[in-house]
Amino acid sequence: MEAYTEMKTDVLIIGSEAAGARAAIEAANQGLEVIMVTKGVQGKSGVTMLAVYSCNAALGYEDPRDNPEVHFRDTIIGGRFINNQEMVDLYTREAPERVLEMEEYGIHWTQKNGKFAQGLVPGSTYPRSLHVDWATGIHFSRALNSEVAKYPGVKSLNLVFVTGLIRSDGRIAGVFAINMVDGTFLVLRAKATIIATGGGMYLYDINSASYESTGDGYAYAYHAGARLMDMEFPQFYPTCMAYPFSIRGLPGATTIRYFLNAKLYNTEGERFMRRYDPGRMELTTRDVLARAIFKEMKSGKGSPHGGVWLDCSFLPGNIIESQVNRVMGGKWKWNGTDIQEYGLDVTKMAVEVAPAMHYFMGGIRVNREGKTDLEGLFAGGEAVAGIDGANRLAGNALSGCLVTGYWAGRYAGQYATREKLGDIPREVMEEEQRRVFSILDTHEGESPIQIRTALQRLMYTHVGIVRKEEELHEAIRSIEEMRCRKVRVASQGKRFNREWIESLELTNMLDVGELIARSALEREESRGSHFREDYPESNDRDWLKNVAVRKNDGVMEMETVPAVITKLRPEEVSDELRKND
């Protein structure tokens, strides 16, 4: 047996950003001790900080007609009626309070006429999005981070990688983890555990997220026996940078599509959107645009580095410049990237863009108290399913994290107040230690980096924007094959051994990949971000349902459950309205 360090706490939170930090505040508010662990660095990890602009809350400042009911309706229409309406109802009513609290935590929302400005983003009936210029995420992270620091009861552990949840006596009793700095094994015992690990965007070759977004939380929950839901719905952002590789996946190029009416071309110079949506062309909805670009790329008409061309150079330079001055304050920075530094001059040339994996709508199934199917396990943020349905309304991510993070923190705290610490059976710990450390003693096999790269390509081509039965079966077979490949890491040392941690992340990624592929196979229709070439239409008669999955006897057990529809049914919304998002 390896040496280990044991720590005890009331509430343990995995993940330190929007949802995790908000949960920590709420648990600590109840006078409880909290340990918050992240495999990165608190306030500087995950994707919260990458959020560009919008944080929705129906305050009605910009337009008094807006209210939580309208926000509810927009969210359900966007999510194509398979959102959990009970949760969305609560979310839209609580979002204003959660968002106003952020001002107390130190964020300075951009103002207009003495009130917080609210921008209009696609899919919303009225302007609703609070923002801090064009860098909302980083201000959001900073405010939450400084608020958490005010609570002496919250202990933050950076560079700690959770390897799995501990099941004991029918409940979750904490987590096993590795201190990445020195490679020591940690046993973190908790009365209640919260998963706030965000999405799994890094499963896809081109993504707008970070190498940290490996979907660990989904795998932890799945292995412990919790139900996940809506895993077939990852969302692509259509026009992200494809080249140079340094900035591949970053969404900045969208700026010229929105603000300069940039046009898309395939490698033959054809403005291909004419074939897909002649009415709206490049300004069509995200899903139509992503599918069109993907089809061009797949048919061999893509640009040299795996994308298509986006161009605004047909405009005179002074028009481009005046718009850059107006919209971006004269800076050629696209969301933190100075494109001129990369040799890109959009007044003279087209840029290569491609759809990038952006967000996971699905996740761990929770109730309106953030409670999962398992005793002692709660979850919040992008890691959970329910609010987004089949497609997230633009602007709902940040306020969604605050609201579901609040639920998880509040109710996990109440649970922890009632419960005692669970026992950790010695053999359970030894088994996990063997799994984790045996990789370091393996001398044959290949690097996890190789398998991860193959998985990322497979997910992008076979389980991405356009899906069909044969390809999904092929993907599942390939994932099973990848799981059998022997993994070896170059360095046996435990200190900050990134490849070793990657090998553990890889097992999570393979499971999450299979969860997505199997859920996508189950849903024999197209809805929201899920498009099946073999079932291209939405089918409200049979599919106002959620696909749920859990581990049973070591296999993925699929089931479909009716969507929670309490207020708004599709037939109550006119076709015209549905097309308009």
């Binding site: 990165g40 995420g137 940290e212």
Partner: protein, 110 residues
Amino acid sequence: MNSGRTIKVQVERFNPDQDPKPFLQSYELNWEEGMNVLRLLTRIYEEVDHTLGFMGPCRIGFCGLCRVNVNGKNVMACQKVIKEKDEEIFLKPVSGRPVIRDLAVQLDEK
């Protein structure tokens, strides 16, 4: 994109668990258009040497975790684009912080 040109990189490496003191290691990679230092490190880690230690999750100049000393200057690796004229790149951990491994350094604990 690839002119057949290569780029030479020297990295100061140090694993406090096993190395008595820091040492220099050289790498040579194909030149790539618009390559920033973070991409360079990622390519070394993925293609050449899986033991290299560094951080840098955000890629857009926000998190600051990729801060590194490039040719004598502390910069964010994701914001430093390598130019054609940069014949040789010399990378050290950012000064004044304890090294975790190679270019990954300990940050202030809050």
